[in-house]
């Protein structure tokens, strides 16, 4: 169901956020939701699963609590349709359906309630997603999928679904850019701007993109401040989702190369390119963070798992991605108050020409594109697509120093 068209005579709604203050211990839920995981505290000593988050086990008072993934299966005990709220964000979105759910694993929780859930008592699945304030929010979903369930009005306030939205893909010429244009169109976007630089350099299939009705080609060179400003002036006020796929990737670390030109070129696209884009496009996104139900919602950065820890065979590239990651955190802080989510994507090596010498597994561009669409629909902000990325992430979360040593040793 398409959200109603915006009345251009009316004032654009100014972004407000749901309450964002949480105790530090409750941020454990947010940390998991950022990766798309629903985790609750589990007592290491007695096994009790508990919610809301506490500093100690509510049964045995143990301080040894771990966050573990939950399946969210439970029963809707009671529900209400809230018609009055004390916060602006909700006042502008009334009525709002809420439920009280008892999970099969024990705890009772208050959750946003999907419109397709049967009245209480009924079976539901609780999932955790980031809300517009960037904090974990629990949502009770119907036990079984229903048609068009992603279109639920309350759910769309938590996700960044490309459906019915306008999307800029900054570099559509790469195999990933290509796959992403097709995936975003397939996801129901109204319009996709396919950016391209270096028009003299043709890539296979790029011209065909122009024949897709929803696609408009857009000259966009991120190394050129003037060009970025012009593009923002032309379309910036209409972009709902910006996906920065521009990527300059060369091999080698420090010793194998003389001079700084290659490293500078990497930084010029991967770091300064992001900075130029952010300076020109972010202001309009911030202004449109609550512009109806197809508001500006997301900014996606194609980073690399090498941003977490330097991969010496691609040493200067890793450094440029680490710089981009740091800048993306700044951008996230600046877009947060407008409810616009910054999603960082950390793929392992992509199966393209610049990773020619790396052995498999390498992530296929089409898989990466579909993971990005999935992230937009899912209410997450950090995505680690592919087996290599997952493996690196697990090693990094377990012991970052060990990962550094392993990468130095080439393992």
């Amino acid at each position: 169901m398409r959200p109603p068209r915006k009345n251009p005579i009316l004032r654009t709604r100014v972004p407000t956020l749901p309450p964002s203050v949480r105790s530090r211990v409750a941020l454990g839920l947010t940390a998991a939701a950022a990766r798309g995981s629903f985790e609750l505290q589990v007592c290491r000593d007695c096994g009790t699963v508990q919610y809301p988050p506490r500093e100690s086990c509510r049964v045995c008072l143990s301080l040894r609590l771990d966050w573990h993934v939950q399946d969210g299966a439970g029963e809707l005990l009671s529900e209400t349709m809230l018609r009055h709220s004390n916060e602006l964000f909700y006042r502008e979105r009334m009525p709002w359906r809420l439920g009280m759910v008892r999970l099969d694993c024990g705890p009772v929780l208050v959750a946003h309630l999907h419109g397709d859930c049967a009245p209480a008592p009924s079976r539901v699945r609780v999932r955790s997603a980031l809300d517009r304030a960037g904090q974990a929010a629990l949502m009770a979903m119907p036990e079984k999928d229903t048609p068009n369930m992603a279109d639920d009005r309350q759910l769309r306030e938590m996700t960044c679904d490309p459906k019915f939205r306008k999307v800029l893909i900054t570099d559509a010429k790469t195999p990933l850019g290509h796959a992403l244009v097709e995936a975003i169109v397939a996801a129901g976007a109204d319009l996709v701007w396919a950016g391209y630089a270096e028009p003299w350099k043709k890539t296979a299939g790029f011209d065909q993109l122009a024949s897709i009705p929803q696609v408009a080609l857009l000259p966009l060179d991120l190394t050129n401040s003037r060009a970025v400003k012009d593009a923002a002036g032309e379309i910036g006020g209409r972009v709902d989702i910006l996906i920065n796929t521009a990527d300059h990737h060369r091999n080698y670390g420090i010793a194998a190369r003389n001079g700084v030109e290659v490293a500078r070129a990497e930084m010029d696209v991967n770091y300064f390119g992001l900075l130029r884009l952010a300076q020109e496009f972010a202001p309009a996104l911030r202004g449109r963070g609550a512009d109806g139900q197809s508001s500006a919602v997301a900014w996606v950065n194609l980073l690399s798992i090498f941003a977490l820890s330097n991969f010496p065979p691609h040493g200067t590239y890793s450094a440029s991605k680490a710089a981009a990651l740091s800048l993306a955190q700044c951008l996230r802080a600046e877009l947060g108050p407008a409810g616009v989510r910054v999603i960082n994507v950390f793929p392992g090596p992509i199966d393209d020409e610049w990773n020619q010498l790396l052995p498999p597994p390498k992530i296929a561009p089409a898989r990466l594109a579909s993971d990005i669409v999935h992230a937009l629909r899912g209410g997450v902000e950090d995505v680690y697509p592919g087996d290599i990325a997952e493996d690196w992430l697990a090693r990094w979360r377990d012991n970052p120093k060990a990962l550094e040593r392993e990468l130095a040793a080439g393992t």
Partner: protein, 393 residues
């Protein structure tokens, strides 16, 4: 086996005082607490220096606590308590003060509760009410207690067959009681139709199911019988009291409160049964919780609340008089004073000093407290049975 708890002997409660309620105020909580204390002293003829104990309840006193208030009010005390227990604070204050007087730690204890209500203070109180509320409730629609009680009400209606008309009957009766009470903020009669068709707030709750936040204060005095007689103050004896916190933590949703664990002792110590109670004050920020108290305090069985409502009239002059000043639903909820309102009214009834309608021959009264929706349910429950100075017989 727990030891038998001591009776309250000659400790009595006296001097019910109310600082008139207002919807909004530009004053601070200190203003209301000072005002109600001044009124308490005035009506008892006590000099400020005679007070040696003070028990304070307030949500809006921050950054002060009861300690700061002593300097603010210029009182020197040898016993001081601060009871942050919302709707249970009146009962708990009475319990604490009575034992202090009984043991001789204090002679005359003023129990005061009050809050201010600025135009935005309700919202900011909600947002920071508790860690669980801030982490796991307020971000979900920010409906406050309305949403929490909507869940409990929907569940109770579905489980026990209560109807909107049942809740409406109680609200309409309380409003009728309120019309005679000078401090009630609601001044107009409420018709059942008006109740049923009021605007929805959080299904199934409508406007007149929800208490109205306001500013105000209430107070009473706890002291020795001999002191009260020397001062010429009418008093009530404390037959028994109970309190309980976080009862039934494993109930998935609240359908009963801590009274169930303690009611046997409440009546046994008082030497009376539910049938002997002449007038009752339930904690009534939402009608469902009144029905729960009627069940859990033994006036009817669990699940028979709706039937009990259909069989009684609840008015001052009818059967089973409840919330004879109008209750919070018709008087208003002045923050922590909401936890005093019922107790103060029961005190007025049994000592024959009502400001509104008087229940004929009210000798024994029961006041109940319920407070603190910390997360998904109210955590504190309590009750007290008071009797006219002459005794229950």
């Amino acid at each position: 086996m727990s030891r038998q708890r001591a009776d309250y002997d000659d400790v009595v409660v006296s001097a019910p005082v109310t600082m008139p309620y207002v919807r909004y105020s530009i004053r601070g909580a200190h203003w209301f607490l000072a005002g109600v204390l001044a009124e308490l002293l005035k009506c008892t003829g006590l000099n400020k220096g005679r007070l040696d104990g003070l028990c304070v309840s307030s949500f809006t006193l921050a950054p002060d606590t009861a300690v700061g208030l002593t300097q603010h009010l210029g009182v020197t005390l040898r016993w001081l308590d601060h009871i942050p227990m919302g709707g249970a604070c009146g009962i708990v204050a009475l319990r604490r003060a009575a034992r202090a007087v009984q043991s001789g730690d204090a002679d005359i204890v003023a129990c005061i509760a009050g809050d201010t209500n600025h135009t935005d203070s309700f919202r900011s109180n909600l947002a920071t009410f508790s860690q669980f509320a801030r982490d796991a409730v307020y971000p979900y629609g920010s409906g406050g207690a309305n949403a929490s009680f909507a869940f409990l009400t929907e569940y109770y209606m579905r489980t026990y067959g209560a109807t909107r008309e049942d809740f409406g009957k109680l609200c309409v009766a309380q409003r009728a009681n309120a019309l005679a009470f000078p401090f009630a903020l609601m001044k107009k009669p409420l018709a059942l139709d008006e109740y049923l068709n009021a605007r929805l707030v959080a299904d199934p709750l409508r406007l007149f199911d929800c208490v109205m936040p306001c500013a105000g204060a209430d107070a009473f005095l706890v002291l020795h019988r001999a002191q009260a007689e020397a001062l010429g103050l009418p008093y009530a004896r404390i037959l028994s009291t109970i309190e309980r916190h976080n009862a039934f933590p494993d109930d998935p949703i609240q359908y009963r409160g801590g009274w169930v664990l303690d009611r046997e002792e409440l009546y046994a110590q008082a030497g009376v049964g539910p049938q002997d109670i002449d007038v009752v004050a339930t904690y009534d920020d939402y009608p469902v919780i009144s029905l729960m108290q009627m069940e859990d305090l033994g006036f009817c069985k669990k699940g028979e609340g709706p039937d009990f409502v259909r069989r009684n009239s609840f008015t001052v002059d009818g059967s089973f008089p409840v919330n004879t000043s109008g209750g919070q639903l018709s008087v208003g909820q002045a923050g922590a004073a909401g936890g005093f309102l019922g107790l103060v009214e029961i005190l007025r009834q049994v000592i024959g000093q009502t400001l509104g309608g008087a229940v004929e021959n009210a000798r024994v009264g029961l006041a109940s407290g319920f407070g603190m929706i910390n997360y998904d349910r109210g955590l504190c429950s309590g009750a007290a049975i008071l009797a006219a100075g002459g005794g229950p017989s």
